[in-house]
């Protein structure tokens, strides 16, 4: 059974996001003065072939902790759905 994991990796709130800040400044220059802040993260779609949703979830958490995010500076969240 194939599952699609939609994984979002974001910088921890305490970490300064210079990329987001630069984008926010650019938006301010475009006239969007109401945009107060921008935080930039990563979105990944991973297809996992496993026997059950529980197994797929275990793999998803493991790969997110091991490689796809760095726990020193990032958090991750994910959604898992079966692929038809």
């Amino acid at each position: 059974m194939a599952y699609k994991a939609k994984i979002k990796v974001t910088l921890r709130p305490s970490i300064l996001d210079v990329q987001g800040k630069a984008a926010q400044h650019a938006l301010a220059n475009l006239g969007y003065s109401s945009v107060e802040s921008v935080r930039i993260g990563k979105y990944m779609e991973v297809t996992i072939e496993e026997s059950s949703a529980a197994e797929a979830e275990r793999v998803c958490i493991e790969i997110s902790q091991k490689l796809l995010s760095n726990p020193v500076m990032e958090d991750f969240t994910f959604e898992l759905e079966p692929v038809n």
Binding site: I15, L16, Q19, N70, V72, M73
Partner: protein, 234 residues
């Protein structure tokens, strides 16, 4: 100096590997060997250097993919046996991603890639990499990085400080650790740290690019010299 073999790891995207080879080869009795990331063989290395560059194009996070290359398993074992490993710039990033060193290296706070001469202060000269320097000596070493902003949790910083693992700090030419001298925004002006055991060092500046007067500084030479002296036990 007796014969020393120094392994220089080559990842796809490494670009300071040959500069490092050149600098290492300039020491009598020291033989550099290039180690391909996909091999498992450290070729009898007495010390390992992870050079600067952009391994795997900095994909995902700097150093994150390189950390899982086959050769890195050998390097992690080698370090675990207390043998010396030096990571320069991208090599430092690989070391923090691999867990051999603590913390992380984030994008410079000023957003820019910074390529220039920097000044750093030796704040611990009792390591195998730095005992050729005077305590608080200021070195001129070039930097070239976009992600050199060192961060770590409060607890990690406290334990690094308590165990004298901070080896280099950005300072001005007089050795003052000013905010201005800390051009990439690193916590505590940290430019280089070791692991708890002291056999693994990572630093952002490039000692290999300051290894002869023609390059504007030879302040990087004594780092290699200290290391090689310890390897031979002389």
């Amino acid at each position: 100096m007796a014969d020393v073999t120094v392994g220089i790891v080559v990842f796809p995207g490494s670009n300071c590997d040959h500069d490092t080879e050149y600098a290492v080869a300039s020491f009598p009795g020291v033989r550099p060997v290039m180690l391909w990331h996909n091999d498992h063989d450290l070729k009898g290395s007495d010390a390992i250097i992870l050079p600067g560059g952009f391994s795997y194009g900095d994909y995902l996070r700097c150093g994150s993919i390189a950390r899982f290359s086959p050769l890195m398993r050998e390097v992690i074992d080698f370090a675990g046996k207390g043998r010396p490993v030096l990571g320069i710039c991208n090599g430092f990033q690989v070391l923090v991603e691999s867990g051999l060193l603590e913390g992380a290296l984030m994008r410079n706070t000023g957003k820019k890639f910074i390529c220039r001469q920097s000044t750093i202060k030796v704040v611990n000269n009792s390591t195998i990499f730095t005992d050729g320097y005077r305590q608080d000596e200021v070195l001129r070493l070039p930097v070239a990085h976009g992600e050199g902003n060192y961060i770590a949790s409060v607890e990690t910083i406290e334990s690094l400080e308590a165990n004298n693992q901070v080896v280099f700090r950005y300072s001005d030419e007089e050795g003052v650790e000013s905010v201005e001298a800390n051009f990439n925004g690193s916590l505590g002006n940290i430019a280089g740290i070791t692991n708890r055991q002291g056999n693994v060092l990572g630093l952002m500046p490039h000692p290999e690019r300051a290894s002869e007067q023609l390059l504007g500084s030879e302040d990087g030479r004594r780092l290699f010299e200290s290391l090689f002296r310890h390897v031979t036990g002389s």
